[in-house]
């Protein structure tokens, strides 16, 4: 979870923020004045100043906020002057907007506020729909308004050109006043709340901001989005009464409190109408005392009444924003703030401390207990006496325990040790003395220890205040030390004792036992908050009462709307002692607390000593007989197998794996599949050392995996087996993978030269290239490459030969490879112990709602008998209902509800419908007379959590990334890494080196339009593809000028839109969007209907259209842009150019002897300096492959290959292609 901030204002009006990863409140020092209230989003924070005006603090990010303004210059031709600015009276303005209706001279553009600055001066746009125009940028037409072309024709009577200028928001990380709107806003403001960012994803960064004026009016800020953070104007919202306070959740919930104490709820908030339509009134929780405060989240409402009682509203969701009833909660608060994930913060009524509601989960939205945040403020020294002991100075609440408050100092000592629950073993000779770990505070005079034991902690705290006099001393109690002697070897007994301890504390008078989980609780919040809460029925915690109000921060307002934590987050907010820094960090991950270098050192030492022992004990006795003779080990299991003969179906088989090892310890194995064929017992076998890859194929009905050998790869027909359970499948996969790697002598992390690839399921595979892989003319055949899986889930991966590997997930999160291996289902021996982290990914599942028009009732879900399912997948062939559609595999879980998807290609109407004359046809986003059917797309998000050697690089979501390829012995130490954000911005990562592959920060590279693909070549040539399909070359990129200076437009191949580019050492290749016919003499149509794809990978691939592969001709050092695009091949989905100019692609429709595969790894053979385009394709693993990168393989092929090639120069017919594929029958991938 990314780091985010909790904001709060103290009673003096100072603004503080507390990072979810931090431990102390940071003072917002540059605040221009005192603030009354704050409301935060993840990207900015709004506040209400003491002058009652509104301030905005936009958090600096690597992406600048820039806004493009444009205007058109129009000219008409006349016979005298040629084209001139003299227009006809009926014409548009000489300077106008794109429609011509608005007069827009250059000087009419003003900066919206002092927070903006111009990035440069006006310039003419010389790019017209992806094509460069002539120098002046004019586009021509017959008349206004009409279609324009970039070429002047004989009948071109008018022309226009576009002027562009960028402005940039400069007031980042400072509080900027929102200019007031003098006409409409006579009132000073009194409350503010922002939210609503989940209503719609378009435009990016959209927010709803609601404010309340002193007169009780409510205003809504229009037009807030990423490139307009300040919004544009205030709109008054009509009201049924006078509002005192308002709260807006991240979704479509908005509640407000009226003067008289009633609550009102905004209804009709949709993506088209974020302001909503009307108010509904909700009665306040208790009729005699009205509400004074309300706060809403995604699906929760919390309120505070005038007597400071806290209330939780039941049954609130976006269909029923009013909810169903109030539940009284414990605690007395003055205000409450609901944040992301419905987490709750509040300010205590009496002590004015900030409380966090613990244990709020999606299943238990009301949480469990209040816990005070005791982080010190910036610059405030931690409590001197508190620092001596962990448990001191920490507010903590457990559950109910009926014990009186101890106020006597003497009894406290006893009580303290009893509560600390030191259990001394009855056998003193063995049990080590239970010395309290050096704890000076335990002897200190004791103050009152209120037993903070229940939810009613606040009131108890309050009542405690009244008794006794405050003491300067802070009490701390020995943390529970649990010692148990277990004499017989019996684990159950230990647990039993511990369990007994739970019950015994209160009932027994004798030695006190402690809850085993107490220690966990004392170690901090980091372990398991939920468990602590639920189990700590007898735990008691000491509560330090801090002395004096001057030490104790008094808070007035808190805002958690932008604070992304949840009940599983590890928070460091709850203890104030000085030494927590080291503690919390080390607890967070045990494996991280020891540096890898140290780990390596002691591990090597152990290993050496072990070897030494073996030498000493065994070297002289090698001739002795072994006590146990080595034999064959067999693992068997019942499986299902997708049988080889027709009709293909799953049949029950016996699956057996025999592993045998010779005396030298070398392992080998054979896989057997025993099946019945016509009542006859038969078997199929595969040698483990011939298996090239094991591919897990998990779907909602079967737990299958595919086993490939080189022969099976040629056939495009793997051995497919299905295990009964997912666990069993992973057991087999883990065992077989380890055996395969062992038989090939492969272990540890992938090398720097490794070739990485990704399947359409997001699984990551890696292959170690042999030097002969790129040999000419006899390279290692591609189908013999051995692939092994690496944990994690990615959509794409890019690397270079310095070992820098970056990946991008389906949710566009960027990940960097940590140098580990394993993760996912590879556990234990098959996985490295360090460098494995949790990885999550999110994607959407889409289904279609189809309707047909009939004259009686209009559009209904009653179709014709011949129609598709009324709820279906995109093709309409499969029924997909809202309730029946499951996540793609058991690994995915739903994280949202079904929602209409408006971002379908082709537009939609306001309800998301698309219309057509009939199924299946092309749909459009408006209804015409001829349309009889309509459909709309529903999307639901699902999330996957796995582990792998990947670490997240927040915060910018990416769609493409590329890193400089380098030679095997490169002296470069920092590597340029370029990326494209999901918005289309081009970014350059600084500080990427072999030691810090994650780099340090992003540098934004300006572009005139959004980009979608980028690649950097060996000499620093950067090529990119814009969203409109045109190519660009970045000039003057060098180590001194890592971002280059300007973009050169490169026209795309005629009538083609490019989608991806890859640059090797000198060669540049690009792939276009679809394979519109490029004439080719040998091209044949694929007739064989059966794809193996549906079996293996579902229908995912069927809708991807492969494109053509183009090679850039004429690229020279002096003319890096090259001259023209040369067609290489069609049916190509993706290309990866290596540092030796190797060409590897993902191709579609590769024909094998048994089947056809889509998404196949292919290698271009015969690539040489004199023939950079190569000669023909060699086919490797597939189908279902989505991505490959060979940019790490800088291994020069052996020289012999080149010599023999000169000597013999074999004709291409002696290609190394296996027979089954040399003449691919019907394949459309051709040479």
């Amino acid at each position: 979870m990314p780091v985010s901030l909790l904001w709060a204002v103290d009673v003096h009006g100072r603004v503080y923020s507390l990072s979810s990863a931090g431990q102390q409140w940071e003072l917002g020092r540059d605040a221009p004045m005192e603030f009354k209230r704050v409301t935060a989003a993840q990207q900015c924070c709004w506040s209400l100043g003491c002058d009652s005006s509104i301030y905005l603090n936009v958090f600096a990010s690597d992406l600048p906020v820039r806004y493009k303004v444009e205007t058109y210059e129009n000219q008409r031709w006349n016979p005298v002057d040629g084209f001139s600015e003299r227009l006809l009276p009926s014409d548009r303005w000489q300077w106008s907007d794109v429609t011509g209706l608005q007069h827009q001279p250059l000087h009419s553009f003003q900066l919206p506020s002092s927070s903006w600055e111009w990035e440069g001066d006006w310039y003419v746009d010389e790019n017209f729909e992806g094509e460069p125009t002539e120098k002046e940028g004019w586009t021509y037409s017959i008349d206004f308004p009409s279609t324009y072309t970039k070429d002047k024709k004989w009948n071109s009577c008018v022309r226009r050109r576009r002027w562009i200028r960028y402005r940039r928001y400069k007031a980042m990380d400072t509080w900027a006043k929102i200019p007031s709107q003098p006409m409409s806003l006579p009132d000073p403001f009194s409350d503010i709340s922002c939210g609503g960012w989940e209503i719609s994803e378009e435009p990016g960064g959209r927010l709803s901001l609601w404010v309340v004026s002193l007169q009780g009016k409510v205003w809504f800020r229009e037009g807030i989005c990423h490139h307009n953070p300040e919004g544009s104007s205030w709109e008054e919202v009509p009201l049924p009464g006078e509002v005192v306070q308002i709260s807006c959740g991240p979704g479509d919930l908005v509640w407000a409190v009226l003067w008289e104490g009633k609550l009102i709820v905004r209804e009709g908030i949709t993506r088209d109408c974020p302001r909503g339509l009307s108010w509904a009134v909700v009665e306040c929780p208790s009729p005699e005392v009205g509400a004074i405060h309300v706060s809403v989240g995604n699906g929760v409402v919390w309120a505070v009444t005038k007597d400071n009682k806290v209330w939780f509203r039941r049954g609130v969701n976006s269909h029923n924003p009013c909810g169903s009833g109030w539940i009284s909660m414990v605690g007395e608060m003055i205000m409450i703030s609901v944040g992301l994930h419905d987490q709750v913060w509040a300010i205590g009524c009496e002590d004015r401390a900030v409380y966090f509601r613990q244990g709020v989960t999606s299943s238990e939205l009301s949480g469990k207990t209040w816990r005070a945040i005791s982080a010190p403020r910036d610059g405030e020294r931690p409590h001197s006496s508190a620092s001596s002991q962990q448990s001191a100075g920490r507010f903590f609440s457990g559950e109910v325990q009926a014990q009186s408050v101890v106020s006597d100092a003497d009894s406290d000592v006893e009580k303290g040790s009893a509560d600390g629950a030191i259990f001394t073993t009855p056998e003193p000779s063995l049990g080590s003395p239970t010395e309290p770990p050096s704890n000076p505070a335990v002897d200190a005079p004791k103050a009152r220890i209120p037993k903070v034991t229940s939810d009613s902690f606040i009131s108890e705290l309050v009542s405690d205040r009244d008794q006794g006099k405050p003491s300067k001393d802070v009490l701390s109690v020995t943390p529970a030390v649990l010692e148990e002697e277990v004499i017989p070897a019996d684990g159950e007994e230990i647990l039993l004792c511990a369990g007994e301890a739970l019950l015994s504390t209160e009932s027994r008078g004798g030695p006190q036992w402690s809850n085993v989980d107490l220690e966990e609780a004392q170690t901090g919040a980091v372990l398991d908050l939920a468990e602590t809460c639920s189990l700590s029925s007898v735990t008691t915690f000491t509560l330090t009462v801090e002395d004096g109000a001057e030490e104790h921060p008094m808070w007035a307002w808190v805002s958690g709307e932008g604070c992304s934590v949840d009940s599983s987050s590890q928070l460091n907010w709850f203890s104030s002692s000085a030494n927590t820094t080291s503690v919390t960090q080390s607890v967070q991950s045990m494996s991280l607390s020891i540096s890898p270098a140290q780990t390596a050192a002691w591990r090597r030492q152990i290993f050496e000593q072990l070897s030494e022992r073996s030498r000493r004990e065994m070297d002289d006795f090698k001739h002795y007989e072994q006590a146990i003779e080595q034999s064959v080990w067999v693992k068997k299991g019942a499986m299902q197998w997708w049988r080889d003969w027709k009709p293909h179906k799953w049949i029950d088989v016996q699956f057996a794996f025999e592993q045998f090892s010779g005396p030298d310890g070398n392992k080998d194995g054979i896989l057997f599949i025993y099946y019945n064929y016509n009542e006859e017992k038969k078997y199929l076998h595969a040698f483990i050392n011939e298996v090239t890859i094991l591919v897990p194929v998990l779907n909602d009905s079967k737990h299958t995996f595919a086993i490939y050998t080189d022969e099976r790869t040629k056939q495009r027909w793997p051995i497919r087996v299905a295990a009964a359970t997912e666990l069993e499948m992973y057991d087999w996969l883990a065992l077989l993978s380890v055996s395969c790697c062992e038989s090939r002598g492969i272990q540890g992390p992938p090398s720097k030269q490794a070739i990485w690839s990704i399947t359409c399921k997001g699984d990551i595979f890696v292959s170690e290239p042999s030097p002969a892989l790129e040999a000419v003319p006899y390279p290692t055949p591609c189908d013999q490459m051995f692939w092994r899986q690496v944990g994690g889930h990615l959509r794409m991966v890019e690397c270079n030969s310095a070992g820098i590997v970056w990946g991008i997930g389906y949710d566009h999160t960027a990940w960097v490879y940590t140098g580990g291996y394993g993760g996912g289902f590879f556990q234990g021996l098959a996985s490295s112990t360090d460098n494995i982290y949790t990885q999550t990914d999110v994607k959407s599942v889409y289904i279609y709602e189809n309707q047909r028009w009939n004259p009686v009732s209009g559009y209904t879900s009653r179709g014709l008998p011949t129609d598709r399912y009324m709820w279906s997948n995109a093709s309409g062939l499969r029924e997909c209902t809202k309730t029946g559609t499951r996540p793609p595999s058991p690994h995915w879980t739903w994280i949202s509800d079904w929602a209409v998807d408006y971002s379908v290609s082709g537009s939609t109407d306001r309800e998301g419908w698309q219309y057509a004359a009939d199924f299946p046809a092309s749909f459009h986003g408006y209804k015409t007379m001829k349309d009889f059917v309509r459909r709309r797309r529903w999307a639901r998000k699902c999330k996957l959590t796995t582990t792998g050697p990947w670490q997240e690089i927040p915060p910018i979501p990416l769609i493409d990334v590329t890193v400089l390829p380098c030679g095997a012995q490169s002296s470069v130490d920092t590597f340029p890494l370029w990326a494209i954000s999901s918005k289309g911005d081009v970014l350059c990562r600084l500080g990427v080196s072999a030691q810090t592959p994650a780099g340090s920060s992003w540098l934004h590279v300006g572009t005139d339009q959004p980009f979608k693909s980028i690649s950097i070549g060996a000499a620093g040539q950067v090529w990119a593809i814009a969203r409109d399909g045109s190519a660009f070359h970045r000039g003057s990129v060098s180590p001194q000028n890592p971002a280059g200076d300007c973009w050169y437009h490169i026209p795309s191949p005629a009538k083609q839109k490019l989608k991806q580019v890859s640059v090797g050492r000198t060669s540049i290749c690009a792939v276009d969007e679809n394979g519109t016919n490029i004439s080719s003499p040998s091209r044949r149509v694929v007739h064989r209907g059966f794809l193996n794809v549906p079996v293996c990978f579902g229908v995912f691939l069927a809708f991807l259209c492969p494109g053509n592969l183009w090679y850039r001709q004429g690229v020279t050092p002096s003319y890096p842009q090259g001259s023209s695009w040369d067609h290489v091949s069609n049916n190509v989905r993706k290309v990866s150019m290596g540092p030796l100019d190797q060409i590897w692609i993902i191709a579609d429709k590769v024909q094998g002897s048994q089947s056809l595969s889509c998404g196949t790894v292919c290698h271009r053979l015969g690539v040489q300096p004199i023939e950079p385009k190569g000669q023909q394709w060699d086919y490797g693993i597939g189908g279902g492959w989505d991505h490959i990168t060979v940019r790490g393989n800088a291994m020069e092929p052996p020289r012999i290959g080149l010599l023999s090639q000169k000597d013999t120069a074999p004709p291409t017919s002696s290609s190394p292609l296996p027979v089954g594929i040399a003449e691919p029958n019907g394949t459309a991938v051709y040479s």
């Binding site: 684990g491 000593q609 057991d731 540890g748």
Partner: protein, 268 residues
């Protein structure tokens, strides 16, 4: 870089050269030759002495044969201790090969448990595994395993099959790195100087301050006498390596975490 796997392998494949001689008091038909074997450290005596039994039975009459037991320099060897522990405990300072005397009568009921069949060993082994998992994961892992998984674990040990054993044992060793690891370190400390069989107490992998515990911490807590005043580091390193290893061995054996966590700051 040496990997965890290499360490585990070396621990597993640790062998002790042993010379079995028949007790001279046994009634034999002719003189019995000593028998030489490489015993795996990670195993139990009854599992590896089939050949020994067969060898000596050749020279004995059936009526003279009772339950076989072993003794080293007068001490009966407890079959329910791992072989590596027995060796380090009793014989680490003697000359190799380890000399073991084989008896077929006068079974010392006071010192040894009877072991009629290997299923006794299996029961003992599985109960150690369960106990260790109870300490580490509240028995969740071992309870989630199927009967055949338990069998595989046992067969792996019995047949000295590293992969077979570790394919299952890895499950017992897994723990999420992000949630602070597991609950308690399962361990036993055997001491020659003590009457008690071994020390076994609850010990968390992480200290209350959040630092991972090392072997040093464990020893300091459990048997401070074993450590000299001038710091444990030198002392432990001066200890015969084998003593440390029998500890590690046993740690591995009762499926504790890989020894690295304990020995981190000890050796590093």
């Amino acid at each position: 870089m040496a990997d965890d796997k290499d360490v585990l392998r070396d621990v597993w494949f640790g062998r002790i050269p042993t010379c079995f001689t028949l007790n001279p008091d046994e009634v034999t038909e002719r003189e019995a030759e000593p028998y030489y074997l490489l015993l795996p450290r990670v195993s139990y005596l009854p599992l590896v002495t089939d050949k020994v039994k067969k060898h000596f039975l050749k020279v004995m009459r059936t009526e003279d044969v009772e339950e076989m037991w072993f003794e080293h320099e007068g001490t009966p060897l407890k079959w329910h201790y791992p072989i590596g522990v027995l060796f380090d405990f009793h014989a680490s300072n003697t000359v190799l090969p380890w000399s073991i005397t084989v008896h077929f009568k006068n079974f010392p009921d006071v010192d040894l448990l009877h072991c009629p069949t290997n299923s006794m060993v299996e029961a003992h082994f599985m109960s150690s595994i369960k106990e260790a998992d109870a300490l580490k994961h509240k028995s969740q892992v071992v309870n989630d395993m199927q009967k055949k998984d338990h069998k595989q674990l046992w067969m792996g040990l019995q047949n000295d099959k590293f992969d077979q054993f570790w394919a299952m044992n890895r499950k017992l060793m897994e723990y999420p790195t992000e949630e602070g690891g597991f609950r308690y370190i399962p361990f036993r400390i055997y001491q020659t100087t003590n009457d008690r069989p071994f020390i076994q107490r609850l010990f968390r992998p992480v200290s209350t301050e959040g630092n991972p515990h090392t072997l040093f911490d464990l020893l300091k807590e459990m048997c401070p006498d074993a450590l000299t005043k001038d710091g444990c580091l030198q002392h432990l390193l001066c200890l015969p390596w084998t003593s440390f290893m029998s500890l590690t061995l046993n740690l591995c054996f009762s499926s504790s975490p890989p020894p690295k966590v304990e020995s981190a700051s000890l050796l590093g």
